[in-house]
């Protein structure tokens, strides 16, 4: 398998880069070029496998005894490999623009290639040990990256929560694979595929897998670490974690639920669908109310992971009921969204990094007017923002459209519970889409539009070329992915057929080669290219006509603003004020948001204060409560450290007598 050896070599390059960077500080600058090289090779191999559909396998005599390390690169892992290495490539190119003296530290650069390699290894692994080994390695390396700014207590807190949650997830996956492997310990995936687990075990395995992968992907209520950890890391790493690592979580779930666990039962669909929908909506509600640029992006990652899980759940439901084509639509939606999200989320995080780099600020209310100070970044970020808001003709909408199509197929489902769930899901998806638009209009409007709110924002400058190239490439991908949705879907068709049993109509069956067809062309067609063409023609025509007939003169003047133009940019709408209507409508329900206005007494010219209080119930129930319980219990038990020797003897005596009594009563 020369191809696999190529990947191996690339992984070795990554490891070597890490080693070099650890050894000498001078080698730090070599990391990203080497990472680019490796990502290119790995991506090429994955692409080759994805396009040709061959399955590469190999095994090394390391890892668990007698099982060894099984390696396998099939179309599924290849697809995710393309996603991952694309992200790695973009992040590395972006990082070429980092300042060698100022930005490169031994705390980040040695770990970046390790992180990339670990993610690739997860996809390659074909036995439980190898999978979890690399999975945990992935968490570990990213943990070290999160805590890179270690003097900041916030990032220490974030990294602690992150790794604990990651280990909880890994433990869940341990259970999942334990259940799959059975008491005999058949840990290699082909052994697992050979025999399907019985229902009781399957249920436990599914639950464990959902917890394990959900905690890595940020599925509510296992999400709380994500908005803390992703922003804490350096921006290009945030891009990887949000854009790519969450996809590894998706991969894990797909691998277990669609491949290893055998033919699905219909109720498998419910947990991912319900949790996913809740995640999608709540994630955006968090995002809409947050004021930190990178944290908003992290929350929107949670939302998108939710969407993907919904799509996967639908695919399971359809497949379990034998509706192969509907399953194919849902699965295609999921996979395409994986691809698209990896693109625009990486783009947005890199953009946020650029903003952070240029202004040193992450708080939306401290930015503004960047569209003039950093024009290129502004354009790229705009593309990303529109794409993630699922607006045509960009790529976000393609997967969104397919998702709605699969929701539309819901009435076919025989099970009442699913029938009831699916329309509710549809409503929540629509809500999520609308909220996403609101969220990113808010982000873009406050950060890039309007007037600069701080000196830093006013003095910002556009970022180095390498970073612009990285962002530009991703922006281009977002546009192309929007226009070429149908060809992309047809590339995925074989993969989708393998795991859903059905496939979309061939891309030729639509009116034009660019038409994306769900079910059949008489039923639903989305042709981004044609619509884009229409819009382009229409706007050109308008432009020409208007410029012909209309008065061309344009005058610059102070803003009209209903007659009282304000000199200071402070009076602009801030992110918080933009969120106020949404907070009133949704926040009062979800976070029991309260606004308390304290007015100065009449005649007093002091300032009035507006206090907003939000309650994060999820945090309270799922994090604060258990954590507090553990600490309290630890405090209680601690008195056992301070007993007297005689009391310890008493314990010993009690143990002896109890055991003796047991022996006495048992025959």
């Amino acid at each position: 398998m020369p191809a696999l050896y190529a990947s191996g070599a690339a992984l070795a390059v990554l490891a070597g880069a890490a080693g070099l960077a650890i050894l000498t500080r001078g080698a730090l600058r070599l990391v990203y070029p080497l990472a680019i090289l490796a990502a290119l090779v790995l991506g090429a191999v994955d692409l080759h496998v994805l396009l040709t559909g061959v399955v590469l396998t190999d095994s090394l005599p390391i890892g668990l005894p007698t099982i060894g390390l099984r390696l396998r690169l099939d179309s599924l892992s290849a697809f995710f490999g393309v996603v991952i290495n694309g992200g790695v490539l973009a992040a590395s190119v972006y990082s070429l623009g980092l300042d060698h003296e100022k930005d490169l530290t031994p705390r980040v650069e040695p770990l970046f290639p390790l992180f990339a390699a670990a993610m690739n290894l997860v996809l390659l692994a074909d036995d439980a040990y190898g999978f979890l080994f690399s999975w945990e390695l992935m968490s570990l390396s990213s943990w070290a990256l999160v805590v890179a700014r270690h003097t900041d207590p916030e990032s220490r807190r974030a990294s602690h929560l992150y790794l604990v949650m990651a280990v909880i997830g890994t433990t869940a996956l341990l259970f999942a694979f334990g259940g799959l492997a059975g008491p005999a310990g058949g840990y290699s995936f082909d052994t697992i595929r050979a025999h399907a687990a019985q229902p009781a075990i399957a249920a436990l395995v599914l639950a464990a897998a959902l917890i394990g992968c959900g905690s890595k992907g940020g599925l509510i209520p296992l999400h709380a670490w994500l908005p803390l950890a992703h922003p804490a890391a350096p921006s290009h790493v945030s891009a990887l974690m949000s854009g790519v690592m969450t996809k590894v979580a998706i991969y894990g779930f797909v691998r277990i639920a669609f491949d290893l666990l055998g033919p699905p039962a219909w109720w498998w669909a419910l947990p991912p669908i319900v949790l996913g929908a809740i995640t999608a909506v709540l994630g955006l509600l968090y995002a809409v109310l947050d004021r930190d640029l990178k944290r908003v992006l992290a929350y929107s990652t949670i939302e998108n992971v939710g969407l993907i899980f919904v799509a996967l759940g639908l695919a399971l439901a359809f497949r379990a009921n034998g509706f192969a084509q509907a399953a194919a639509v849902a699965l295609t939606a999921a996979l395409l969204h994986v691809l698209n999200h990896s693109w625009f989320k990486s783009l947005l995080f890199l953009g946020a990094g650029a903003v952070l780099h240029a202004t040193g600020r992450r708080d939306l209310d401290g930015l503004g007017g960047l569209i003039r100070t950093m024009p290129r970044t502004a354009i790229f970020f705009l593309v990303g923002a529109l794409a993630i808001s699922a607006l045509p003709p960009l790529n976000g909408f393609v997967s969104e459209w397919l998702l709605f199509q699969s929701v539309l197929a819901g009435p076919m489902l025989p099970q009442a519970s699913l029938r009831f769930a699916v329309p509710a899901i549809g409503a929540m998806l629509a809500l999520a889409a609308a909220l996403a638009a609101a969220c990113f209009v808010r982000v873009y409007g406050t950060a890039f539009l309007g007037r600069p709110r701080t000196v830093e924002a006013a003095r910002a400058h556009d970022v180095p070329l390498a970073q612009q190239v990285a962002m530009g490439a991703l922006a281009l991908l977002c546009i192309l992915g929007g226009l070429l949705g149908a060809p992309l879907a047809s590339v995925l068709a074989p993969l989708v057929r393998t795991f859903s049993g059905g496939m979309l109509p061939a891309s030729g069956s639509g009116p034009t080669p660019f038409s994306l067809v769900a079910f059949d062309s008489a039923r639903s067609v989305y042709d981004a290219a044609v619509i884009a063409l229409f819009v382009a023609i229409a706007s050109l025509v308008t432009l020409v006509v208007v410029h012909r007939v209309s008065e061309r003169r344009t005058r610059r003047g102070p803003a009209w603003d209903c007659g009282f133009p304000d000199p200071s940019p402070v009076t602009q709408y801030t992110a918080s004020s933009f969120a106020q209507p949404l907070r009133r409508v949704y926040g009062t329900v979800a976070f029991s948001a309260r606004e308390t206005v304290t007015m100065p007494p009449p005649g007093d010219r002091g300032t009035a204060r507006l206090q907003v209080s939000l309650v994060d119930y999820l945090w309270r129930v799922f994090y604060a409560a258990p954590g507090g319980a553990v600490l309290r219990l630890a405090e209680r038990l601690n008195m056992l450290q301070f007993l007297t020797i005689r009391r310890y003897l008493v314990l010993m005596f009690a143990a002896l007598v109890i055991l003796l009594s047991i022996a006495a009563v048992t025959t």
Binding site: L386, W401, F404, P423, R523, Y526, V546, E551, A559, W560
Partner: protein
């Protein structure tokens, strides 16, 4: 064959310009009806055209802080709305590009236009722009899901998401009074009011009022840019009216590949229904008062509830889609 193709193409083009042509008239009708009902003389029916022409002739004043986005947005908004409006079957269902008129895509196109408008509203960096944009997006988060649910309901009933297909379906089997459809109609009306910034959600004729939404966003626009925005909002109104028509009163619409005769009949019927709808809107607007902004959620929420019940019924009755 080619001739036929050309005819088809022309027909499609005709629809595209037809909506553009009739949009100001529809608005004129609404205003006229309102004026008459409030015992005013009222502007002539063609006032819409005159406004746009006048705005086009004026020079446009840009705020110093306006960026390129502020200047390009109007063209895109207009184009997006125009395309969306042109995609809704008006006089004939089976036009050349009818397959491109996917309901989901349609909603998304309008969403794109809205997002651009909201961004433009924030571009200058004034408090009013912010007010408008934030409220617009808040309303959208309520209206868009409702809209989506409505179209999904109809799509389930008709077994397709092609607007033309839905229209054909309802032409073929005359509109049986089904609860889910009735609810959808109610919901769609409310959404249409909200989306077009009509009373009670917003008042299209006022300024300098803290409750305004749409007008606050476009406050900084003038000259040709304002003309385009105004035209776009007129188109949007027409779009919703003809959407209502095509979904709930498709009778008279010419089937696919009907000859010129069929098309003319369809055209007359459609125009009549459009103007009637505009008039009804006028009546509605004079007979109800503007709401406070933060009562809107309740109002638009009603649309959401209607739409949700509708789709629920559609699902539980197990649509024949698939």
């Amino acid at each position: 064959m080619t001739r036929d193709l050309i005819v088809q193409f022309l027909a499609q083009g005709a629809q595209m310009f037809l909506v553009l042509l009739l949009a100001p008239l529809a608005v004129g009708v609404t205003r006229r009806v309102k004026a008459r009902l409030t015992r005013r003389q009222g502007a002539p029916l063609i006032q819409g055209y005159l406004d746009i022409a006048k705005l086009l002739r004026k020079e446009s004043v840009l705020a110093e802080s306006a960026s390129w986005l502020f200047r390009t947005a109007p063209y895109l908004i207009f184009a997006l709305t125009w395309v969306a409006a042109a995609l809704v079957p008006s006089f004939a269902s089976g036009l050349m590009f009818n397959w491109a008129a996917d309901v989901v895509a349609l909603v998304a196109l309008l969403g794109a236009a809205r997002a651009l408008l909201a961004l433009a509203g924030m571009d200058v960096g004034t408090s009013f722009g912010g007010i408008g944009s934030s409220r617009e997006m808040m309303i959208a988060t309520l209206a868009e899901p409702a809209m989506m649910l409505i179209v999904l309901t109809l799509a389930i009933a008709a077994g397709t998401t092609r607007l033309a297909g839905v229209a054909d379906h309802f032409i073929a089997e005359p509109l049986a009074v089904r609860v889910s459809l009735a609810l959808s109609l109610g919901a769609l009306v409310i959404v249409a009011l909200a989306e077009n910034a009509r009373i009670p959600v917003d008042n299209p004729v006022t300024h300098l009022e803290l409750t305004m939404v749409h007008e606050a966003m476009v406050l900084e626009y003038s000259g040709r840019h304002l003309a385009l925005i105004e035209a776009a909002s007129m188109l949007k109104l027409t779009l919703y009216l003809s959407l209502l028509i095509c979904l709930f009163a498709p009778f008279g619409m010419a089937p696919a590949s009907a000859g010129l005769v069929g098309w003319t009949v369809g055209l007359v019927a459609w125009t009549a229904k459009l103007l009637l709808g505009a008039a009804l809107l006028g009546v509605w607007e004079v007979s109800i008062a503007k709401m406070r902004v933060f009562r809107l959620p309740d109002f638009v929420g009603v649309a959401f509830v209607f739409a949700f019940i509708a789709i629920l019924l559609a699902y539980l009755s197990g649509g024949d889609i698939g």
